[in-house]
Symmetry: C2
């Protein structure tokens, strides 16, 4: 399996419009059939020193293998999401894991 995890920090976290736009953009990614499982999330209420809850949105995508992940990266729906939404985030942090 290949797990692609992305955390997004908004440029304007105080903007509900931006929040809605990024949330809606992330939801469009679920249409990409190369993805085995997709989870769009926001920080939970858990608080411990080892927990980073500073991000605004998370995206966890599970693929059967790296080839499926690579198809996702090049998929037009993903590219359209980046094109439409990249201005909304200040930064992203990505973790890719294989098993």
């Amino acid at each position: 399996m290949f797990v692609h995890t992305v955390f997004f920090w908004l440029n304007h976290p105080e903007s509900q419009d931006d929040r809605n736009a990024l949330g809606a953009g992330l939801e469009t990614l679920k249409a990409i059939t190369d993805i085995s499982a997709a989870y769009v999330g926001k920080p939970a209420e858990t608080r411990r020193p080892v927990i980073d809850h500073t991000y605004d949105f998370s995206l966890t995508l599970v693929f059967s293998n790296k080839a499926a992940h690579d198809l996702y990266q090049a998929h037009q729906v993903h590219l359209a999401f980046v094109d439409k939404c990249a201005h909304l985030w200040e930064r992203v942090k990505i973790y890719d894991a294989v098993s």
Copy 2:
């Protein structure tokens, strides 16, 4: 859904014994039935400035809700894992996300 993602940095990443021990410990967690889906991973070969590939192991656990996550946290198999393996890691970083 509740996605609990943990990244582990080993105290002694050069030790294959430590690596095997943590990997085996993480695998024991999959027996906890409160978990809906579990993925134990290592850094993929992907390399971009926004990708953090410095960790040694990742754990992605999907739960149906926070209550299931809370049961996992208190589960004896999880507590036994922490008790047996905590000395192996230098640090962990956790992201909890709800959707």
